[in-house]
């Protein structure tokens, strides 16, 4: 055998070995990449955070018609959960083919999902990422927390789906396994129920009664968690509720010609988020329309800390007379203006009559205040990082590690708007280029044929 032939045989053998080894390695390792523009085939980061909390075997059972496309999609989705956490197993059961299993699980509707974790059972109404993740969150948490929402002062409703409503906030609360209770302190003996994990007041317009203020402050002092979302549009004076937590409501209207949107200097965009608070984790910018200003008390008592969460630019000011003009004058407060704060008050509660040496427990109050309420409405919640800010605030108040901010169900409808530029391009291609190429090819063939004929 010549040298060159031997080399050829060796190269051939090397290629065969490389292919075999490559196949063996590929067979043993699975890897995939989601190249879709919207990451349609990947789970949301919030879901991954929820799955990190699953530390014991968790079984997901989906009841679906096995022959349908829904079952195929469910298997695909649930396999993604299993890939992220090997404590998770799943099965898809056809309740018509296996009625005994349906009876055993007490299923009475198609598309029901049952999550079992540490002996707890939680149902989801549909096999989509948001519903399954919510069910897993409920199962991991082991119980639901009740959050109370104040009513009676003209606050928008959580089921109001208009632009000025709060239905998106209601959805977030529901998807994060909170029971929502409406509390109206304007009727009867005002008292905030003790089982409220947090108390929210989303955009009060009318003044609080003295007894209401007393009830809210009593709740807050007893390790309460309060989110007060107020604004320049309110007729209520929030100070009796904010001052105990080191924050003064300044009122007025924040004007920021430098950082605002749509040519409206009161539609403020906030880029300064100076604190290290978890409330601003992953928050880049906020949009706070019609915001008032707040000021942090310079002399805070021991145990009370106040974080300046959101601050407007140096070119902004608090307009004291917004009904007449939006020009800075001597009556206005110069910026930067604080528009959101987080107060954390911790003190040791000792049994009465005994000294601190007698022990006791730490009482922690948390109060989140924003000086705009429009940012939370349906029209604005999905602007910039507003939604993230709310979910972080919710988690911080109720001390939950991971909450779901959004659905991962992205729209598959990727529209291609027919702009004037595109219309012109289509016209050139369809009317000019394509017919031109056909005619040109025909002419070339014709003249070529004539030339050959002449030569002949």
């Amino acid at each position: 055998m010549s040298r060159s032939r031997r080399r050829a045989v060796l190269i051939g053998l090397a290629i065969v070995v490389a292919v075999v080894v490559g196949n063996v390695v590929a067979y043993a390792h699975n890897a995939q990449a989601d190249l879709s523009a919207t990451h349609h085939f990947s789970l949301a980061p919030q879901t991954k955070g929820v799955l990190d909390q699953v530390k014991a075997p968790l079984k997901v059972t989906a009841f679906l018609n096995k022959a349908g496309a829904e079952a195929r999609d469910a298997r695909f989705l649930l396999a993604r959960y299993q890939e992220l956490n090997h404590h998770i197993s799943f099965s898809v059961i056809d309740p018509d083919a296996d009625p005994t299993a349906a009876r055993r699980f007490g299923i009475s509707q198609y598309s029901t999902v049952v999550v079992m974790y540490k002996g707890r059972r939680v149902e989801a109404p549909a096999v989509d990422e948001l519903d399954v993740s919510t069910a897993i969150l409920r199962a991991v948490r082991g119980g639901t927390k009740t959050v109370c929402v104040l009513a009676g002062h003209g606050e928008p409703a959580l089921d109001d789906q208009t632009g000025a409503g709060l239905s998106k906030v209601g959805d977030i609360l529901r998807h994060n396994a909170y029971d929502v209770r409406t509390v109206d302190l304007t009727v009867g003996q005002p008292a905030v129920p003790a089982d409220c994990a947090a108390l929210f007041d989303f955009g009060p317009r009318d003044p609080f009664g003295p007894q209401e203020v007393q009830a809210i402050n009593a709740y807050a002092k007893a390790a309460g968690r309060v989110m007060l979302v107020t604004s320049s549009l309110t007729r209520a004076d929030p100070n009796p509720l904010t001052v105990p937590w080191g924050v003064h409501f300044l009122g007025g209207l924040v004007v920021d010609p430098q950082r605002s949107e749509g040519g409206d200097p009161t539609n403020v965009v906030i880029e300064d988020l100076p604190s290290a608070s978890p409330v601003v984790d992953g928050v880049n910018r906020l949009q706070f329309p019609a915001s008032a200003g707040v000021a942090v008390d310079p002399g805070l008592r021991d145990g009370l800390t106040v974080e300046r969460l959101a601050v407007t630019s140096g070119a902004s000011w608090v307009e004291s007379n917004p009904d007449n003009e939006l020009q800075f004058d001597k009556n206005d407060l110069p910026g930067p203006v604080v528009v959101a704060t987080a107060s954390d008050d911790s003190h040791v509660d000792t049994p009465s009559g005994l000294g601190s040496a007698a022990g006791g427990h730490i009482v922690r109050t948390r109060v989140l205040i924003t000086a705009s309420d429009t940012w939370l409405t349906n029209d604005f919640l999905d602007r910039l990082s507003n939604r993230r800010f709310f979910v972080n605030g919710l988690a911080w108040l109720t001390q939950e590690e991971q909450l779901l901010a959004t659905t991962a169900q992205v729209s598959t409808d990727r529209s291609l708007p027919l702009t004037a530029e595109r219309q012109a391009r289509i016209l050139v291609i369809t009317v000019g280029l394509v017919p031109g190429l056909i005619i040109g090819a025909g002419l070339l063939a014709h003249f070529g044929w004539r030339r050959r004929r002449r030569r002949a």
Partner: protein, 146 residues
């Protein structure tokens, strides 16, 4: 030329057949029939204790008897209530032929009823509304969905 023409014709024919085949496979699946045909002169319904002729206006639902799903390899019949059927539909043809259909339990969401043609392995799901009036004749009350 003739050969080329024939080859081209064959190729076009094969292409059309392939297109026809694919469009056929993409069409909606045929509705499973438990009992075919509408010309059954007599249909009766019976239980262990009662028997009655199905009224003429109710027969339209039963002939043909159409199913929404079919399980060709079903679980043990006890799972579907077909080990002890709650009723039997008896079809009598003009030539004296008979077909018996056993009626089992309601499915999990009570929208459908399991039935089986006697002597055949397949189990079918039939809309409960199809059988409700007929079974009421022999005193069986199919509970409506929640």
């Amino acid at each position: 030329m003739n050969k080329t023409y024939r080859a081209a014709t064959l190729a076009v024919g094969l292409l059309l057949a392939a297109c026809g085949g694919s469009s056929h496979s993409g069409s909606a699946p045929k509705v499973p029939e438990v009992v075919a045909g509408s010309n059954w002169p007599g249909i009766s319904v019976s239980t262990a204790t009662a028997s009655a002729e199905v009224p003429v206006d109710a027969r339209r639902n039963l002939a043909p008897l159409l199913a929404t799903r079919v399980f060709n390899r079903p679980a043990p019949l006890a799972e579907y209530g077909l080990d002890h059927p709650q009723a039997t539909l008896g079809y009598r043809g003009p030539g004296g032929q008979t077909v018996d259909v056993d009626v089992g339990a309601l499915n999990f969401d009570r929208h459908f009823v399991y039935v089986q043609r006697r002597g055949q392995p397949a189990v079918y799901l039939v809309p409960a509304d199809t059988l409700r009036a007929t079974l009421a004749v022999v005193g069986i009350d199919l509970k409506p969905p929640e």
